[in-house]
Symmetry: C3
Subunit: 340 residues, 3 copies
């Protein structure tokens, strides 16, 4: 695959102001500190400005302020980090599979598969599934009956998509992810055990969604689990049945949404942040790492619970045990105040 | 698949009292709010009673109290939710695979496979494994040597079952689940590193167990890891080596049990609730979400740790830092009290 | 497979002092309590000494102190637990696959595969991958283009290894694990959405590493994610892009390392312990279960946060609500003190 461009080509794509020699060839990206000949670096965080003079990068993406004191080849952008993100696609190391269907793939006769797709070895596609143009499905993945992959979806190896799951366009699903497994629905059976509630709903996922490795998105009990456009999910994320995740919300590793909870748009869930079932979180909410959201949030902003300061375990033990005495302490404090 | 029944048929199955027209046809289930023509809804939680008059459901499952003021078709049950759960099986959207073994499956000559099973494409079954009547194993799953699936087990796609794992009857395992991987057993090797302890035990799982997507149940170090009858596990659950989980215990997403811990019967572990190794939890214990159980629990009831009230992050910071001063505060409070 | 040895053979391998009859045959390992005829047990923790007289084990590995009062067959070692760990390899129940490549495996013509490897059914190995001597790759696993498995690696079923991932020698990867998926890298696109940052780096893993089931190790954004020699990871672990984990560090289930964090050597992360991004943890640090490490740690030792004492939920509620009043309480306490 060609991975060698002139700096001028890159400047044009990014609509960046080019200083220096536009004919130099760029064959890779790297950090300011590690970049060498032929590599393009970027300076997004001013705290790394001191690395600029010593960088051996072929060229640097930076802001106009930093550019003033820089004599090397550079691309000037208001948002250098976004520029780096955009150009990263030109240097991906992922092999781009040509359109083909491997002979070992097992595709049901009733599945509808567009011509220009890649379907890898041992992929299995069940009855009535629909794979749109430009999709890529890597080795050993499974697409259940009636499920739909919109245009240009990228499904990595060993992905499991159950029946009646609908993905929009440009959805990327990483290995080990599971979409459409049964929600965790059981009714007490009156005899100490559990009666399974068959999960009749499906999953609908918008466009431009990224789903991390080992992430699980359950199907709805009745009606669908819904993931909006532009949602990004890290690894080990959990989406329970009938949850709703709004457009462009970001979920870090181990973050989870319990059944029927509704998360707004442009929210950020930190690592291991969880939302209990049947509550609503409005748009533009941040939950810091390990927070458990236990009630509706109606005002944008950052919310926290649980996380307490890290300290030496010995100190922690001493303080931690006092938490069990807090109510008593509060009452005693009130009494002492009253006594005066 | 037929999915169209008379209300009278359903009433008979549920042993429900039928009010209205038993000849109406029911082809689906839905919520009170969303149900339309041909759909059966249910009213389990009285707080949704107000939706009853406006529901366009063909019929409703409800309690006798709610039925008094309802003139539509209905099925009266003491426990409408359980009724809904039971009838949900009639409307499952999962395709029921006929008995067949796909030509691409690789089955060791010494494996014993009953006639009426479904084995999907690219399934691999190793030496000496035993698959009982009515089992279904979806695409790309692996069953290790000597493992046993009791009658009517349902194994989804991309499931990994190692060697010498025994499942009872009617066990359902979702995609990405791993049963029988090595427990996390290592001894310090005296030189700063680790000596692996080979995990010689197996896993034994009872009847009517559900195992969620991406859930991992490790094999025992010596002797087996044990999961009782009727246990239900959500996604991302962790069961370490030689743990014991009692009958009908429910484990929500991310809940985990460390090595050799024993969990009683009819317990409920909330999301992310974890139990440390080598302790015992008695029957009928609830651990709320994110609790870390650190010592034996000998009395039934609900236990908590960790979760503190959610608040604005700015407020949290102010309060959280005081946790590190708690021991000091407690001592000062005592001094102030003594001073009087 | 032969699993029957004389006690003398075992003594010689472990360099243990043999008391009793070296000719007895040992065909299995078990605990002191459960061992019977033909089984070797061990006594590592003195608190189980009381089980010694009643044990029906054929022989016992124990320390010299405990041996004094024991008249049965025994192997005396300074570290009986390490002895048990070492000998466990002789009794593994995992079947040792002979060197062979299953006909259904799909191996790219440009992949380099040594002669004495086991490649199971439906394994897929992509262009330019390199599989060294003695490797074993179980059913349905995927090895991406250009990835390298050092000598004697053991890859379980349904493992996903992306392109350009390098494993050292004797790396063991359990089912459902994913190595080399994209790191969670996105830049705000200025329009409320996210611009994906293609993850151009790879993953490099040292020798003698164990990677648990459903564990995810992401590839680097620029440059590699690095896992040292002798690192052991339990199930459901998360390693984000460009993290560095030092030699012999142990990570329990659900522990995670966020992007670009650096963990030292010989650290132990308890279950669910997480490290935020871009910080550094020095060598020999213990993080207790569920701790969130939020800043650099420069001194060896044990650190904690979050975990508070477990109590009845009703008591917890009373105390927990006071955490939101702590800052106020601290100020009032100060005022009361000042008043005197």
């Amino acid at each position: 695959m060609k991975r060698d461009y002139s700096l001028a080509e890159i400047a044009a794509f990014l609509e960046a102001e080019l200083h220096g020699d536009g004919s130099v060839r760029i064959s890779g990206l790297n950090t300011l500190q590690n970049a060498g000949a032929g590599e393009l670096a970027f300076l997004a965080n001013p705290k790394y400005s001191s690395q600029l003079p010593d960088s051996r990068a072929e060229a640097v993406i930076l802001g106009s302020e930093q550019a003033k004191s820089f004599s090397g080849n550079c691309l000037i952008l208001d948002n250098p980090y976004l520029g780096y993100a955009k150009i990263s696609a030109w240097f991906t190391t992922a092999s781009c599979q040509g359109a083909s269907i491997h002979a070992s793939a097992v595709i049901h006769a009733s599945a509808m598969i567009k011509d220009d797709v890649y379907i890898g070895p041992h992929v299995v596609i069940d009855a009535g599934a629909k794979i749109e143009s430009g999709c890529s499905i890597e080795a050993n993945s499974f697409i259940g009956g009636g499920s739909v992959l919109g245009e240009n979806c990228q499904i990595a190896s060993n992905v499991s998509i159950y029946h009646d799951v609908v993905l929009g366009s440009r959805v990327r699903v990483h290995s080990g992810a599971v979409i459409g497994a049964d929600g965790f629905g059981f009714a007490p059976n009156g005899e100490g055990g559990w009666q399974k509630i068959h999960q009749i709903g499906g999953v609908r996922i918008g466009d431009d969604v990224e789903i991390g490795a080992c992430t699980a998105i359950d199907r709805g009990a009745l009606g669908d689990t819904l993931i909006g456009n532009g949602v990004i999910m890290d690894n080990h994320v959990q989406i329970a049945h009938n949850a709703v995740v709004g457009d462009n919300t970001a979920m870090a590793a181990y973050s989870g949404v319990a059944g029927s909870a509704v998360i707004g748009r442009n929210c950020v869930l930190g690592g291991d942040a969880c939302v209990v079932g049947h509550i609503t979180i409005c748009d533009n909410v941040m939950l810091t790492a390990k927070t458990l959201a236990t009630k509706n949030i109606t005002q944008p902003g950052s919310y926290s619970s649980i996380v307490t300061p890290m300290m030496k375990t010995a100190d922690w033990r001493k303080n931690s045990v006092r938490i069990g005495q807090l109510d008593d302490m509060a009452k005693r404090l009130k009494r002492v105040e009253g006594d005066k």
